[in-house]
Amino acid sequence: MATPKNFAGLPNATAASLHRSDTVDPDAFSAIVRRNAGRMLAVCRRILGNEEDARDCVQDAFLSAFKNLARFEGRSTIASWLHRIVVNVAITRLRRRRWFREEPLEAASVRFDSEGCRIVDQAHSLRLAEAVFELHQRKSIVREAILDLPAGLRAALALRDIEGYSTAETADFLGITPAAVKVRLHRARLALKQKLEAMIEAGQP
């Protein structure tokens, strides 16, 4: 699978040029905003599913970055650092918004019988595979199912599967290990698969 090599960002050296004496150079910072805002907004939209909240998050993230620029140590690119901040802001907002109905991460699981064989509803799986074209046409239904996932699962799915960041980048943004990203991704896909199968079973799409 192809892995994106470089994502939106300025070289680390730019961070040093941001500071003139003890103050932040506003021109350099606005260049960083111009360069990274688009991708950060896209990530927030996928995680939050709401334009207004996504914009608020990006603004909060830039505000936080501006205040904490002195703490940026240059171990990663500016873009990576900003993405970490904005993903954190978005997940915090999502959890606050949905705290009352957050499902446990273990909600979606696969089942095996006493022989160790997978228990799968063949008919459900086949119908999902057959409905792919129709689901492509009716994106709002899929979006709704994605937006219904628990925050941690949704963020992993949004970054890796939808925005196309590599597993390593996703891990970096979420502050977890690549192995933990894979676990969340698997659970997110299973949960989404179950939701889509239930929708198809119920007659949608």
């Binding site: 991708r39 996928r46 064989c117 997978r118 063949q122």
Partner: protein, 99 residues
């Protein structure tokens, strides 16, 4: 489930657990993300393929799992201008997707 299918499942489960070259369904499930990421070794990949050839449940699971990834990837409208009105920004990065 018909009795012949039950017997076949029992036999398949027994074979998968005992024969060293075969994966159990749980082992297949545990490696599905790595398989799709292209991170399995050639040998692990061969065993994965062998399991999906022998196990129709895992084969149909894999098909719908892949379908789920494909539809979630296409669910969001990837408009060319992500910066609409935001902080007067005007630069947008090209979209990238994993294969």
């Amino acid at each position: 489930m018909s009795s012949s299918r039950r017997v076949l499942r029992k036999l398949r489960g027994w074979m998968n657990r005992r024969l060293p070259l075969l994966l159990t369904c749980a082992e297949m499930d545990a490696s599905v993300v790595d398989y799709l990421e292209g991170e399995l070794s050639p040998d692990q990949r061969r065993r994965f393929h062998l399991h999906t050839r022998l196990c129709d449940d895992c084969r149909s699971f894999l098909e719908s799992y892949r379908a789920t990834i494909a539809v979630s990837r296409s669910a969001f409208d990837h408009s060319t201008n992500e910066l609409t009105g935001l902080l007067s920004a005007e630069h947008s990065q090209p979209r990238r997707h994993p294969n």
